[in-house]
Amino acid sequence: MSNSESAVVSGHPLVKGEVGPGCAKVDPIVVADHVTRQFGGLKAVDVDHLEIPRGQITALIGPNGAGKTTMFNLLTGFDKPNTGTWEFDGKSLAGVPAFKVARAGMVRTFQLTKSLGRLSVLQNMLLGATGQKGEKLIASLFKPIWRKQEEENTARADDLLARFKLDAKREDYAASLSGGQRKLLEMARALMSKPELIMLDEPMAGVNPALTQSLLGHIKNLKSDGTTVLFVEHDMHMVTHISDWVVVMAEGRVVAEGPPESVMKDPAVIDAYLGAHHDEDLGDLMEDGPNPVLEAERKAREAHPEIEESPGWAENPTPPTAEEKQA
């Protein structure tokens, strides 16, 4: 499909060259090529080329059955593609088992929340920590080997639980949490591993509006901490408010991508979502207020016009390294 009639302006600070489906990014964290996955006669995913910009919040949207979750499963090793290769941070992750993908720094959550019901909230959190000495069979028998690390992880977990307002539930079984709290717990648990890229599969599904606001805040905080976020979502308000970049899938393909304000007006997107005969502009949905992310970008551009001229645009020209994040 072509973008010639669309409202997308060619060129964007995150993009090398033209904006369009499969366009190259200035600083991609994930690069996928020719990824296909077939279920019987149905090609659930058929993505020629996709790049996810580093340090940004990218939304993956599309109608039901577009292949978004399948794409998530493929990238994270939970499903095997028929063809395709992809790189994360320059390392090829094609055919790598799911647990190694997570160890590489690419951690996901699930559409149907997978909280570990008969473990306490704190135990759920501690499970997310990586490189635990006490997780080795022999070492686990000797508490002095892992006690200190366990204390450090507990402190981190308590900190995250407080941020996600789950600290009061610390000792409760995860099964006793509400659906929305489980979403929060799953996200907090994924953050225990200090991921480079966090992939959230419908973080807002089933979450009440009050919690939605705080979840949005958490996701924005992730970006300011230097974590790249990729999320699947149906809620257009969320997509337009917090994402820097939107990738639209339909029938397994990437049909459009671009900054949220223009991609919503893209006829390919309206087509995919609402069918060819619908004449309502998806962009109407974002008319209810200024997008704070875009506002911030605009102000930053005004304050530092020199950035405009440099080829690479990013709010954080150099995302913090793992050591800086720990500090």
């Binding site: 939970f78 088992p97 996901r108 008969r118 499970l127 997310g128 997780e135 080795k136 079984y173």
Partner: protein, 325 residues
């Protein structure tokens, strides 16, 4: 009816080596099912392998330690054979494979072609020498009342229950550690644990080997007071071990021990009472053989009542099971 004798026998079951062996096997099964969520319906096979892999080298003249190591090594190999093809699949597949494998190994040791090694249907005996030789207790009869045994019987009881204590300690140490947290996470949802960067397959294999290893040690303890009989290792044995584990509470430390004690005391009591009633003429419509079968009908009914009315077992946490996960 001789009530003193009936109660004496029943109380004696509390510390009998058979009770210890069943407790050990149930501790192993607790690692599988209670903590890791592995549906092992072939624990009898691990006991069988422990028994034969101990008895055959001993009869061939191997020292005690070699025979024990042989039993453990064989159970590890067996766990790999079971685990490699099935642990990547859903839990149900392990259940099917284990129940089939348990029958396969029982038929193998029963075949007449292997009579020279396994004694076929007659089993094996005469392998107690190396174990009795290291008995530090001088010859004689010790104890009081129902707990009066000779030096060998005490030796078997002491070793058997020491192993139960050691195994319980091992499980307690493991399950309070991050390792235990990972396997409990796998029980709840293995994909979630995978998404957090844990090698689920490897943890499941470790749990299968550990629990199976305890099963094979249970197999050794089980045969020390008796002969090796292939007929002892039917699926019935597996289900008794399941009953014991569920009775005490699947993911508990003391559950398997107390479960085993209750199981054997109740079996002994019902046998004593039924036989006594038949002999005294109070029960005239069944024979003692039939009474033996009725005991096991009662076990089945008890197991059903247990999972319906107290699924968490005696020591289990009611709250933990009140969630439909």
């Amino acid at each position: 009816m001789d009530w003193g004798n009936i109660f004496g026998n029943a109380v004696g079951e509390i510390i009998s080596p058979t009770t210890a062996a069943y407790a050990l096997a149930a501790i192993g099964l607790g690692i599988h099912f209670g903590y890791t969520g592995l549906l092992n319906f072939g624990q009898a096979a691990f006991l069988l392998i422990g028994a034969y892999a101990f008895a055959i080298p001993t009869l061939a003249g191997a020292p005690l330690i070699v025979a024990i190591l042989c039993a453990i090594a064989c159970s590890v190999i067996f766990a790999f054979i079971l685990g490699i093809p099935t642990l990547r699949l859903r839990a149900d597949y392990l259940a099917i494979v284990t129940i089939a494998a348990a029958e396969v190994v029982r038929y193998i040791v029963t075949t007449t072609g292997l009579t020279d090694f396994t004694g076929a249907a007659n089993g094996l005996s005469g392998f107690k020498g190396t174990f009795a030789a290291i008995n530090p207790i001088p010859e004689g009869r010790y104890g009081f009342g129902p707990f009066s045994y000779n030096e060998y019987d005490w030796w078997v009881r002491i070793v058997g229950w020491s192993l139960v204590v050691l195994a319980s300690l091992l499980v307690w140490l493991l399950m309070r550690s991050p390792w235990g947290r990972v396997v409990k996470g796998i029980r709840e949802d293995e994909d979630a644990v995978r998404s957090l960067g844990k090698n689920v397959y490897s943890y499941k294999m470790q749990a299968l080997i550990l629990g199976g290893g305890l099963g094979s040690i249970a197999g050794i303890v089980f045969i020390l007071p008796r002969a090796v009989q292939p007929a002892n290792y039917t699926t019935g044995l597996t289900f008794f071990i399941w009953t014991i584990m569920l009775l005490g509470g699947a993911a508990t430390i003391f559950g398997p021990i107390v479960g085993s004690m209750i199981f054997w005391v109740v079996l002994s009591l019902t046998q004593g009472v039924l036989y006594g009633a038949i002999e005294s003429g109070a029960l005239s419509f069944i024979s003692t053989t039939q009474a033996g079968q009725i005991r096991f009908i009662l076990v089945g009914v008890a197991l059903m009542l247990l999972v319906i009315f107290r699924p968490q077992g005696i020591f289990g946490n009611k709250k933990e099971l009140s969630f439909s996960v």
